[in-house]
Subunit: 166 residues, 2 copies
């Protein structure tokens, strides 16, 4: 096994990312601790295996060293941070894409070596904002560049709430 | 007041969308029932007013008929549906952008007349998937077109989970 995308965690986010990859002809191998989920997914012919994807050694056994990229799609914030650090230490060149909780978490993960971290709480707002600007007639390429700049700054511009409301 | 963007609900999503609009020089007026949030936001010079944004008559009083677009960024699923229906009935041409809970909710809202609805639970996965494909060397314009096609189909391709896990 080599040249695959390894998906750590096959819950909602891992499954959606897997569906996107499949639609683009990109093979993946996913790991999850939920035995029912693994069974149901395998019954549909997907490459999903049982294992605690929050443990770096489990990912190593699944060929992290020969993977094209790893996608960390765990629910748990601390487990995500630990896994990203362990993967980056073991594989300096491995592309690591991560589901982050919020902009602060995303920034910390990028400092910990994540190639790219998407803050969940902000993603919907970003897509909504881009759609509105496009709908208002702003140039699409310009909107894309603007979104790229927000991403490059770690979404910090959007993470500050006067009251920290959810 | 006219030509403004009306933001119904100024929680996390409404605030992030407002920040995006401000960064692009687009004026908005937001409404929320959280008095502390309204006070803190106004102290920072933002156009945020106290009001129950889930009620269509409150949006009418805030100039929905003269707004360039309305952004529905409420937490509540049922309130969102009710508001979109009421706005669409009163204003057949008004662009209505909506924060939806999940792909099913987004599809229903588009049937109810929303111009565009972003499912929160899928947005992070979409951004993550796009970043991975770009990182793997897929053509960026092609990735964008692919994402547009998923959006056009109401994200249905990504919403099916074998176990309905969160």
């Amino acid at each position: 096994l080599s040249g695959h995308i390894l998906i750590a965690g096959y819950g909602r986010v891992g499954q959606a990312v897997g569906a996107l990859l499949t639609a683009r002809g990109q093979a993946y191998l996913a790991l999850d601790v939920d035995a029912d989920c693994v069974r149901a997914s395998r019954a549909e012919g997907r490459s999903v295996f049982f294992g605690d994807a929050s443990r770096a050694e489990v990912l190593e056994a699944a060929g992290a060293d020969r993977a094209k990229a790893v996608v960390v799609a765990l629910d748990d914030r601390e487990a995500t941070t630990r896994l990203v650090r362990a993967l980056r230490e073991a594989h300096p060149e491995l592309p690591i894409y991560v589901r982050a909780r919020d902009p602060e978490h995303a920034q910390n993960l990028q400092q910990d070596g994540a190639t790219y971290a998407v803050p969940e709480t902000i993603a919907g707002s970003l897509l909504l904002g881009a759609a509105i600007l496009e709908g208002l007639g702003h140039d699409i390429a310009e909107v894309d560049r603007f979104m790229d700049s927000i991403r490059a700054k770690g979404y910090a511009d959007l993470g500050h709430s006067p009251k920290g409301r959810p």
